[in-house]
Amino acid sequence: MEVNQMQRSFLEYATVLFREGFLDGQFSQLQMLQDESNPDFVVEVVSLFFEDSQKLLNDLTTTLDQQNVDFKKIDAHIHQLKGSSSSIGAQRVKNACIAFRNFCDQQNLEGCMRCLQHVKQEYLLVKSKLEALLRLEQQIVAAGGAIPVLSEFS
């Protein structure tokens, strides 16, 4: 059946994402929260994350470009980004944020710049992958199938 095929490819794609560390168990938790009364939960959360992260990254870029870099502000932004990414399960982004935060504590501008680039990279990567995953989900739902829930993997 086509739906089965789609579900299988969805699972395979998700497995890859998990294996490569783009997503972690928190994402599965999110999926579990989606049900008939809340059918678009994951999409909504992910969209919110994209919005939020985009804004934060822009702010970070602006702040780092200043003459006098306000490290406290950077810390606050990064804290937010770390929180969002960990809430959604974007593991690599979260790790990049943690690294960024260390440099920020040290007030190492160069390190911060590099980390910002790294965070942006990771963010863009996870964004495109999440979009692809959500597209697959939509296809499955459109074909009338159920979205497979990813259980905890060993």
């Binding site: 049900d35 809340n38 969002s84």
Partner: protein, 736 residues
């Protein structure tokens, strides 16, 4: 005396004699000269003549003899000495050669004579071979006749045609005057004349079978010459002519049963027919050996052909019989189907008809119980209600059982949670057990899969029935229910033939044991337990059908149910084994694929619980809100501490504060919330959500009076257990 060498021929005296001698000598010489020539000529002509040397000798001898006689001609008159010398030489030579030849002939003549003997011998041999050739040709002819006869006989499967053809062909081939076949009668005591060639005798003429001549023929498989006067041979009206020789041969009549042994059936229970053949009378013909052989062979062939015909007849009869039986069976089947349909219709109608009044009785009795009644009246109404419930159950059981019996009941297979099944059963039975002050325990083996594929409703029915029985028949003590995955050896101990399938990856056998310390069962009654309407304890009023239905359900689930008891008063153990499927094992990808558990299976124990959530991170706020909504809470989510303090009211039972916010001091918020609610009763429980696990944070939380700390990210299960602990005990301790 003058001796002269010359002899004067006295012509005048013996002149005539001399003349005749002279002529004879001349002719002799001529002959003597011509014979060798003839010999040479003829020998040259013939190809084979081994004695050339002899011929030469002979030739020489003859020639010399001739020469001698020729020369003799000159001696009749006066002749010179030369002539005399020549004559002498010739005579000497002749003498030599003739002696030599004579000597040679001694050797040669016996040889020549033996040639003659050999010639005679060869001639005899040729004559003998000729005779033998004649014999072979005759045999071949006979063989051809037999083949033709056999072909004629075997080309038909009709018994009468076979026999008639046999007689006709035999008569033709052997030039018989009469040919007859005597068949044994049904009684086997007589031979009846069945077929004749010329129809000269009445068919139906019988002869007793025990005649010596007949026995003689039956005892050998060869054709036997019999006397023309014997009763079987008296086929022609007695005429003035000398009857021809008669031969009789037995024809074995083989039955189908004779062919069950591997080799040709021996003389056991054999029936024979008799074939009688008569040569034409006054023909002076004799039965030749090859003719007898022909007759024997034909008799055997006829036997085979007849047995074929008999087999065919029997198989045709069997086929007709089968067809009749088929028709009868079909008819019976249709009748049975009609009966079953009628019964089902009847049951369905009756069921409905019976249930409607039952419902009325039960409903009204229940309503009556709610009204004011005197104790006696209450007792009466309760009895009415109990009895009607029982009757209602019985009606249901009857319908189920009848559907089970004709196999029209199908299991409704689905995926269900084993744990839930057992827990619900436990919850249903526990109150009753507690009332009877019985100890009721449930233990599930850890290797039991969480989910299984099977008929949940019917399995629950079986379980309830078995456990219910255990409770019913136990006055004191304990009931223990244990469930685990059945091992292969425990399956074998039941020696049920339908349990030979080894548990594979797709399914497993669930084994449930219900032990009770109740009344026990008499070992004699054990087999009757699963029979309908048989009660083991006359004092108890069990429904009588419950276990029978359970057994049928269990059988449908390819399992086994039995009850063991050591005796009255020693308690009993019910063992139920059913085959269940394992979900998601067979054809899914490596990442295990858990079916989405439908929302209503996870009972939101916190439905409508009003909570407040404070988190300044919009994504985190949305995620936690979704989590709490999923668990059934009514969530108010805020993004700042001020807002949080402002909106919180006494309806909110729990407040979740995210303590990782850098700007906001969540601890301060907690203090303010505490201040807001002076009465301890109204105060909501405060839970901190933090990403920090250090002791400092925990200390701070406790100091400000928070009721619990949750480590982010929070999973659904963690939240659920935290909330349930929180609501039960007022606090919770977070475990990893």
């Amino acid at each position: 005396m003058e001796l002269c060498n010359c002899i004067e021929p006295p012509w005048p005296a013996g002149e005539l004699l001399m003349k005749y001698q002279y002529i004879s000598d001349f002719f002799i010489a001529l002959a003597y000269f011509s014979i060798p020539l003839e010999l040479i000529y003829f020998v040259k002509k013939s190809a084979v003549f081994p004695y050339r040397w002899v011929l030469v000798q002979f030739g020489a001898f003859i020639v010399l003899c001739g020469a001698t006689h020729l020369i003799n001609l000159w001696t009749f008159t006066l002749h010179t000495k030369t002539v005399a010398v020549v004559m002498t030489t010739a005579k000497v030579l002749t003498a030599a050669v003739s002696c030599a030849t004579a000597l040679m002939l001694v050797h040669i003549i016996p040889d020549l004579l033996s040639v003659k003997t050999r010639e005679l011998f060869l001639k005899n041999k040729a004559a003998e071979l000729d005779r033998e050739m004649g014999l072979i040709r005759t045999q071949e002819e006979t063989g051809r006749h037999v083949r033709m006869l056999t072909h004629e006989i075997r080309s038909t499967l009709d018994r009468h045609t076979i026999l008639k053809t046999t007689l006709v062909e035999l008569g033709r081939t052997l030039g018989l005057e009469e040919c007859a076949l005597w068949m044994p009668t049904r009684t086997g005591l007589e031979l009846q004349l069945s077929y004749t060639l010329r129809h000269q005798n009445p068919v139906g003429f019988t002869v007793p079978i025990q005649l010596p001549v007949i026995n003689q023929v039956f005892n050998t498989n060869r054709a036997v010459k019999i006397s023309p006067n014997s009763p079987v041979a008296r086929l022609r009206p007695a005429g003035k002519y000398m009857p021809g020789e008669v031969v009789a041969v037995r024809v074995p009549l083989l039955h189908l049963s004779n062919f069950q042994i591997h080799d040709w059936p021996e003389l056991s229970t054999r029936r024979y027919a008799l074939m009688v053949l008569m040569l034409p009378s006054d023909s002076a013909r004799q039965w030749h050996v090859h003719e007898l052989e022909l007759v024997e062979v034909v008799a055997d062939q006829v036997a085979v052909a007849l047995s074929h015909a008999a087999i065919l007849e029997e198989s045709m009869k069997a086929r007709d019989l089968l067809m009749e039986q088929n028709v009868a069976l079909d008819h019976a089947r249709r009748e049975a189907e009609t009966a079953v349909r009628a019964r089902n219709d009847f049951l369905a109608v009756m069921n409905h008809e019976m249930r409607t009044p039952m419902h009325a009785i039960i409903a009204l009795s229940s309503l009556l119980l709610e009204t004011e009644l005197t104790p006696e009246q209450r007792l009466m109404v309760e009895t009415v209600l109990k009895s009607s419930n029982l009757l209602s159950t019985l009606i249901n059981d009857v319908l189920d059982l009848s559907r089970l019996e004709d196999g029209s009941l199908k299991l409704e297979i689905g995926t269900f949670s084993l744990h839930t099944l057992f827990r619900e059963t436990y919850n249903l039975i526990k109150p009753i057990a507690s009332v009877k002050k019985l100890n009721f325990t449930l233990s599930l083996s850890p290797e039991l899969p969480e989910f299984a594929i099977g008929d949940e409703k019917r399995l629950m029915q079986v379980l309830l029935n078995v456990v219910g029985n255990a409770v019913k028949f136990t006055k004191e003590g304990s009931i223990s229910v244990s469930a685990f995955v059945a091992k292969l050896d425990s399956l074998r101990e039941f020696r049920a033939p339908d349990l030979i399938s080894i548990p594979s990856d797709n399914h497993f056998y669930l084994r449930i044991e219900v032990k009770d310390t109740g009344l026990g069962i008499n070992p004699q009654d054990l087999p009757k337990l699963f029979m309908k309407f048989v009660q083991s304890q006359p004092t108890k009023n069990s429904s009588g059908l419950g276990l029978a239905i359970c057994k049928r359900f269990v059988n449908l689930m390819e399992g086994h149910i039995c009850i063991e008891s050591e005796g009255l008063g020693k308690g009993s153990t019910a063992i139920v084994i059913v085959k269940l499927g394992i979900p998601g094992r067979s054809n899914e990808s490596k990442l295990s694929f858990v079916h989405k558990v439908p929302r209503n299976q996870v009972k939101p124990a916190f439905s409508g619980l009003k909570v407040v959530l404070m988190d300044d991170n919009s994504v985190g706020r949305m995620v936690t809100k979704g989590l709490l909504v999923h668990l059934g809470c009514d969530v108010l989510a805020v993004g700042s501490g001020d807002e949080c303090v402002r909106v919180i009211n006494h309806e909110h039972k729990v407040v979740f504060l995210d303590v990782s916010m850098p700007d906001v001091n969540s601890f301060e918020v907690a203090v303010r919330i505490h201040e807001k609610f002076s009465k301890r009763m109204d105060r909501p429980l405060i839970v901190a959500l933090t990403g920090n696990t250090d002791r400092m944070t925990k200390e701070n939380c406790r100091r400000v009076g928070m009721n619990g700390v949750l480590l982010k990210p929070v999973s659904v299960d963690k939240m659920r257990s935290a909330l349930s602990d929180l609501l039960e005990k007022g606090f919770f301790v977070e475990s990893k």
